[in-house]
């Protein structure tokens, strides 16, 4: 006992049955353990209740994303099927011209791979780096399956002159290790030169950085537009009497209840060159019949349609915050001498920031990953990075490239989220 004379301490001792400094229950068990035991059952039951969700998230979310991320830096299409030439690359430094051992290893691997019918996979992997080489592998494969005679170099060159291309050998060297950062380099319009240094790809092949920039810029623009359009609507919703605001709310939510395709089709009807808006403008005389505006199948179409689709995501968080702002704040500001504009700017608007932050973050993140709408109404100038990812998934079948692009997208969104947390604070987020 620290202070035997302290009357309060004495009371605590008798009440809790204190022995040698730890609190115990009436029958002498340590208090902390008794508490844990009494709560264990409830904890176990709570855990069992969320277990299905946990399993679902693990199977459908964590594992696929992990797999996808792995593909972006791991591809064994070449190294697993061409073990001998891969070993030769490992033993000889970059810049070593292919010697007899190399040609022998290549020929052996090609033959084995052709027999196992995995030559297509190998060709696809090299094709990522040197376009047009898949057919080189498959056609050579068909020929070497019948048998291959030394000298291998001459035999292979007899089949196709391309086999001595330094670019091809460089690509094979890059593919010889399953772990590679080359997909990320490619996703940033960079490539590894023959000497191993990193350089930009030729200008006419630079697409990804431009697409990333365009995606972020358009997402930012769309976020801004939804704010400009959504803020007054949210304010109206929050201030109108309940009956009227409910009606208006239905109009806001209507896009949610309409099929995406129907919505997009209506935009086509409205915006196309022979569409309603152009007809109207020509009829009013604003534009000439020959100068009909191109408002769809380009960037404008993407912006208009995406702004429309993402508008509710801005309005709803703003509305939920605005509804809680007591009108007496603005009245107080007015009575203190502020004009209505000052009262709005300094009193009302700052209080809507949690809703605005939530809405902007929501709209921006959704816009960055949007795919269907740009694909339908974006033409070529309205395509976003997601459309490129989709192309790699379905057309070029370069899943590693798609994974690298998606990983970069994911990383940049996370960085933005982190920035938001630092600047505004995630606790200030109000989604509803």
């Amino acid at each position: 006992m620290a202070n035997a004379l302290d009357p309060h301490a004495a009371i605590v001792t008798t009440a809790a049955g204190e022995t040698d400094g730890t609190l115990t229950t009436a029958d002498g068990r340590p208090l902390a353990r008794a508490l844990a035991r009494s709560q264990r059952r409830a904890k176990r039951r709570a855990f069992l209740l969320v277990l299905p969700l946990l399993a679902f998230i693990l199977i459908t979310f964590v594992v696929p994303i992990g797999q996808m991320l792995q593909r972006s830096f791991y591809n064994d299409g070449f190294s697993a099927n061409m073990p001998q030439i891969s070993a030769w690359f490992a033993n000889n430094p970059r810049g070593t011209p292919p010697d007899d051992a190399a040609w022998t290893a290549l020929a052996t691997d090609l033959q084995a791979s052709a027999e196992e019918r995995s030559i297509g996979v190998v060709g696809t992997r090299i094709n990522y780096d040197v376009p047009g080489t898949r057919s080189l592998f498959t056609s050579t494969g068909r020929k070497v399956r019948r048998g291959l005679e030394p000298p291998y170099k001459e035999t292979l060159l007899a089949i196709d002159e391309q086999w001595q291309s330094p670019q091809l050998w460089s690509a094979m060297r890059n593919a010889a290790t399953p772990y590679t950062g080359n997909f990320y380099l490619a996703a940033l319009d960079r490539t590894r030169a023959d000497d191993g240094s990193i350089e930009q790809v030729p200008e006419r092949q630079q697409v990804y950085v431009m697409l990333f920039m365009r995606t972020f810029w358009l997402s930012l623009l769309i976020t801004g537009l939804t704010f400009v359009l959504g803020f007054p609507v949210a304010h109206l919703l929050a201030t109108l009497p309940m009956r009227k605001s409910n009606l208006l709310m239905i109009l806001v939510l209507l896009p949610f209840w309409t099929s995406l395709l129907v919505r997009t089709t209506s935009w086509m009807v409205l915006l196309q060159q022979q569409g309603v808006i152009n007809d109207l403008l020509v009829w009013v005389g604003v534009i000439d019949n020959g100068q009909r505006l191109q408002m769809i199948y380009n960037r404008t179409g993407t912006i208009i349609a995406m702004t429309h689709i993402l508008l509710p995501f801005m309005i709803l968080p703003l509305y939920s915050v605005m509804r809680t702002i007591n009108p007496s704040y603005v009245r107080a500001a007015r009575s203190l001498g502020a004009t209505s504009w000052t009262a709005f700017r300094r009193i009302y608007f700052p209080q809507t920031l949690p809703g605005l932050g939530a809405g902007a973050l929501l709209v921006f993140i959704l816009a960055v990953g949007y795919y269907i709408t740009p694909a339908l109404v974006g033409g070529s100038s309205g395509q976003l990075i997601s459309n490129m990812i989709a192309t790699h998934m379905t057309d070029t079948l370069n899943w590693s490239m798609a994974a690298a692009l998606a990983a970069l997208l994911l990383a940049s969104v996370l960085v933005l989220y982190w920035l938001y947390d630092r600047l505004v604070g995630i606790d200030n987020l109000k989604l509803g």
């Binding site: 009245r331 107080a332 007015r334 009575s335 203190l336 001498g337 502020a338 004009t339 209080q351």
Partner: protein, 367 residues
């Protein structure tokens, strides 16, 4: 003295009417003059139009008809921010995203005051409400009473001549409320400002005001000093709304000047002072305060009419004894007398006779 104020009124409502829906009038023909430096309370039940009047004065509602003048100048078309009226709101309306200091700085900033001047005034205003060390706190970190003080300081920091208060103490507990009543009254006297105060708490109105305007049904029922209002209510609504009141319905038997003889519905005859009575035979409600009822014949005036009463219940309240009586068909007639050493203790079931001075029984309009 009070009547003289109408001529050089600081705030004047003239034939003001207000309707929100174009079908019913919330405020019906309001005429009210408030003198400079006066503490006027608008008292009334909710929906009586008192807050609407305050909002019209502040500029948040427009009068449908009539004119409101401030210091002789019509202000119907003046926007709220140009009226220079300080206002304390029911929920304080302290800006939650600003510190206490920034809250107080706001009215000074929008007036384009420089930083040094602002700081002096903020410090002075905070000291005035004994909150000098709280400038860097956020409103959410303050208790209700502290927020109330800050709201008061903010309404006063730009030296308005007129301060409006809309039930400012409604959210505080009883003890704090009584303390703040005293402080607001004290500030009013010290600064010499004009205060228009809205409340539905009659105790608050009686303690703080110079004059009280009792609102009901969109009209001022009576405008008078607290004592006048309590002791000489002009109609049954005011009598019933201010303080505790016994109401006895009856008919005027005889009218002689302001002396009236009233035949209660039970047949008893009582004396009363006629207030808004024009002729005998008219229906009336006689209003008597519980503390003015006597049951000892030596305390009643010579020849006064008395009424028989049954003691139904005696409630011991410490300083007073509250006795519920059955009088003239009503079993809710209340009599209060002080709990002094020699006081007669009544027992339930006891039969007594009660009476009063005729000027304490006021014959008002029938309810």
């Amino acid at each position: 003295m009070l009547d003289n104020r109408a001529g050089d009124a600081f705030v004047a409502f003239e034939h003001v009417q207000k309707s929100y829906d174009g079908q019913t009038l919330v405020v019906k023909d309001l005429n009210l003059s408030i003198g400079r430096g006066e503490f006027l309370t608008m008292l009334g039940p909710s929906g009586s139009g008192k807050t609407t009047c305050l909002m019209m004065l502040a500029g948040f509602e427009t009068a449908t008809h009539g004119e409101i003048r401030l210091a002789g100048r019509p202000i119907n078309q003046v926007p709220p921010h140009k009226r220079g009226i300080g206002m304390v709101f029911q929920n304080y309306a302290l800006f939650p995203h600003m510190t206490v200091g920034e809250n107080l700085s706001f009215p000074l900033e929008v007036r384009g005051m420089d930083k040094a001047e602002r700081d002096t005034r903020i410090r002075r205003a905070l000291d005035m409400v004994q909150m000098g060390s709280f400038a860097n706190r956020r409103p959410a970190q303050l208790s209700g009473g502290q927020q109330q003080r800050i709201a008061l300081a903010r309404a006063l920091v730009f030296d308005p001549e007129l301060v409006l208060m809309d039930e400012p103490l409604g959210a505080l507990d009883k003890q704090l409320r009584e303390h703040m009543q005293f402080e607001i009254k004290h500030l009013h006297e010290e600064l010499g400002i004009t205060v228009v105060y809205v409340t539905h708490d009659q105790g608050e109105a009686l303690t703080m005001s110079d004059r009280i305007a009792v609102f009901n049904d969109g009209r001022i029922q009576q405008l008078a000093t607290p004592s006048e209002l309590y002791e000489r209510p002009e109609n049954s609504f005011v009598a019933g709304f201010i303080g505790e009141n016994n109401a006895l319905p009856g008919t005027i038997e005889k009218l002689d000047g302001d002396k009236a003889l009233v035949r209660l519905d039970s047949g008893d005859l009582i004396d009363a002072t006629a207030v808004n009575i024009r002729e005998s035979g008219q229906r009336t409600t006689v209003s008597i305060r519980p503390e003015r009822v006597e049951f000892k014949s030596e305390l009643m005036p010579e020849g006064a009419h008395t009424v028989e009463a049954d003691v139904a219940e005696v409630i011991y309240m410490g300083d007073i004894l509250r006795t519920r009586l059955r009088v003239a068909d009503s079993d809710n007639f209340v009599m209060k007398f002080r709990n002094t050493a020699g006081q007669t203790r009544l027992q339930p079931g006891q039969k007594i006779r009660i009476g009063w001075h005729p000027q304490d029984a006021r014959a008002l309009d029938p309810v």
